[in-house]
Symmetry: C2
Subunit: 434 residues, 2 copies
């Protein structure tokens, strides 16, 4: 019997995080962390591919509609054909002409494509009995190159150049896998500094972060310079001079504002300013980077696709590349960006948090370490400690280091959590309305 | 009685253009020209705002879902408050935090926002008894500046600079309105050169274009260099040495391919190459522009927002700015781009065609002429002669010149066309399935 996808199920799942101001920042005052969630059912009851894209409440239903629009591409198809050629499958999904009109490769259509591809990667991992990071690490450099869509990249990265990078790093893979299994991957915490938290809470959480072993702490900034100075001084005082402090403005500034604000915050010596301005403003990031050095510019959670990434690298606009597991079109496009970053010498420090992003990015950071960068030096992965209890294999950070996932597949919500938080008819939301 | 929006109705309307290969190009082999259509019903039965965003078939339902997601922002609101402050209304719609996550300001969410704002502009025009271009032309420079969202623009264009541009052009408005009413606005035709047409049809249509008075003819290219050379030579032969030939690749090339291909096509002396590569590749367009001069680079129908436009201007990447009435967030964001273009000395040549784009862009070209550029020199507006019969006031081109719209409002489909082509339950689609 040929293994086939029998049904694509798309769910709108929302967690009521706005109640506690977890996740509040200068642009997003009250997000309900959500997922447009996809389940690829097969004619084998034991095998279902799970994927999602991360959203923050209202509008998740639009992503769900977009996932459903992709379903005819998958329903009835052979699982082996889809996951045996994930590069071709990815290029085919991205290339559907009427959907390209709605992007191309950006916004809701790209988020939905990411969710579907994440589910296919999950299926691939389960089928081979491996977590996704191990599955990719087991591929040859040639197979890895074929995962990437080089359209629009060849002026900065050709398939031959990508192959050279991957071949150069192939010899040490085994040792690096062992190192990751033994020591994990360094994490930083954002849990201390949401914009909705008061000074005492920031101080207490910074103390806790240090006690837990974190060497990197990130705070949200951008609503009031006075508040930002007070809060970042508290953080700097608590973490001491030798740990790293990062700040994140979530796109609220114009270019001149970003430069002015960051010059004022320079006294607390931030390692990076994240999202100082519009994620579309490549030249703006480059201008900010030049003006505020040695503070580094970081961005990525809203960088829409590999074409914009290419230009951020070409213009020396960023010193840290914060790839997003659900903004980009899954492992395929993340790998493209990791390869570009390696060519341009920029460390990849994945964006995480939200719901499920930590569960996904640990795979991606491991792929970077094992296959592309060959090191974790100068790299650190975001960690936000909430909503992990809803996952079959929750992301785990111990002594400020991510532990490597072991279960076959990518990341999957527990059935009880899916049911409880499905919007608007899950039990949580029904009870909340009464 | 306060005039209020009582209900937001969103429709999926699709025309079966794929049957005739009208609209076929290198990226889009068989589009069904479509509209995610919005009707803002009010408590005055005689007053309904109509708007839409243009799509090409599958996926229109996703834009419809996105329009519905915006409806709570409008339902119950005072029409005067909404249309009396269209700048504020636009900034408020664009600023909704969970929807920004799905963009920001790009893709499906931005297309839906455009549709809604187009409907609000239609409502504003009807309420004041003026076509939209006249409504804008009747505003003071200060009121016009307030329409624009300057977020992320101030490093290239400040409100004061925009005001200076508009004030400088204010004195001659009356004469320019009279000139447009008398002489119309120069059009070019794309109807001759869809990629699905054979050589004889291209030859015949080029002859017809010349006979109709067109001095500018555009052909689709990019699938086969041999075909392109043959077809563009036919066009050049028919139109003669003194008319302008433009070519359009619809994003199929990488940067090196675009340069190579256009060097080969240089012998037919194209005035511009449109969409040579990814619309996101600002630096790529700049590299192509440099390599293929004196052929100009044109782009815009997929340029997602004013932030990308800003950078296309900052890098001298384009010589023609093809703003799109439904890709950008309506009159407000188009005005921002027109002001940027004026600052950087780039002529605006609107993209049209599809369904309804000609009906919309004639307003936008007129606003540019009357209020921003103050001239039509070096400017030409796309014209594609199909689907106009579905509109209450069809776009009209006579002797290759757009006639100015006279009816109050923006653009509106006839009730019979809406009903017949609503997907999937309109009479056309029901009959097509039997």
């Amino acid at each position: 019997m040929t293994l086939r996808i029998t049904r694509v199920e798309a769910l709108d799942i929302r967690f009521p995080t706005s109640l506690s101001l977890d996740g509040s920042d200068a642009m997003n005052p009250d997000p309900d962390y959500s997922a447009a969630y996809v389940m690829l059912h097969t004619n084998d009851d034991r095998l279902t591919g799970h994927g999602f894209t991360f959203t923050i409440g209202r509008g998740t239903e639009i992503c769900v509609t977009a996932i459903r629009a992709l379903a005819p591409q998958l329903e009835g198809a052979s699982v082996e054909e889809l996951v045996g050629d994930l590069g071709g499958t990815s290029r085919r999904l991205i290339g559907i002409s009427p959907f390209r009109w709605l992007g191309p490769e950006k916004g809701i259509m790209h988020l939905a494509t990411s969710a579907v591809l994440n589910a296919l990667w999950d299926l691939a991992g389960k089928l081979r009995g491996m977590p996704v990071w191990r599955l990719v690490a087991a591929m040859s450099p040639e197979e890895q190159v074929d995962l990437v869509d080089f359209r629009y990249l060849t002026d900065a990265l050709t398939p031959d150049q990508a192959l050279a990078v991957l071949r150069a790093k192939a010899p040490g893979r085994g040792e690096r896998i062992a190192a990751l299994e033994a020591d994990g991957y360094r994490a930083y915490t954002t849990s201390a500094g949401w914009l909705g938290y008061d000074d005492d809470k920031v101080r207490r959480l910074c103390h806790e972060a240090v006690a837990e072993g974190f060497d990197h702490v990130k705070l949200k900034v951008g609503r009031s310079l006075e508040d930002d100075l007070r809060r970042t001084r508290i953080a700097r005082e608590v973490i001491g001079p030798d740990r790293e402090l990062m700040v994140d403005a979530n796109q609220v500034w114009s270019v001149p504002e970003a430069i002015e604000w960051m010059r004022a915050l320079a006294e607390v010596r931030p390692m990076w300013i994240e999202e100082p301005t519009s994620p579309d403003d490549i030249l703006g990031h480059a201008a900010i980077a030049k003006a505020i050095a040695p503070i580094g510019v970081a961005t990525g959670e809203h960088v829409q696709n590999r074409v914009v990434w290419k230009q951020l690298f070409q213009t020396d606009a960023i010193r840290f590349a914060q790839i997003d597991a659900c903004r980009l079109a899954s492992v395929n496009e993340v790998l493209a960006v990791q390869l570009l970053a390696e060519r341009f010498g920029v460390p990849v420090c994945p964006h995480a948090g939200g719901v499920g992003l930590c569960e996904l990015v640990v795979h991606l950071a491991a792929i970077d370490m094992v296959c592309v960068a060959g090191t974790t030096q100068g790299r650190v992965v975001e960690w936000v400690d909430h909503l992990h209890e809803h996952f079959a294999e929750p992301a785990r950070v111990e002594r400020a280091r991510y532990r490597m996932p072991q279960a076959p597949g990518y990341a999957e919500l527990l059935p009880a959590s899916r049911e409880r938080f499905t919007f608007p008819d899950g039990t949580y939301w029904r009870e909340a309305r009464t």
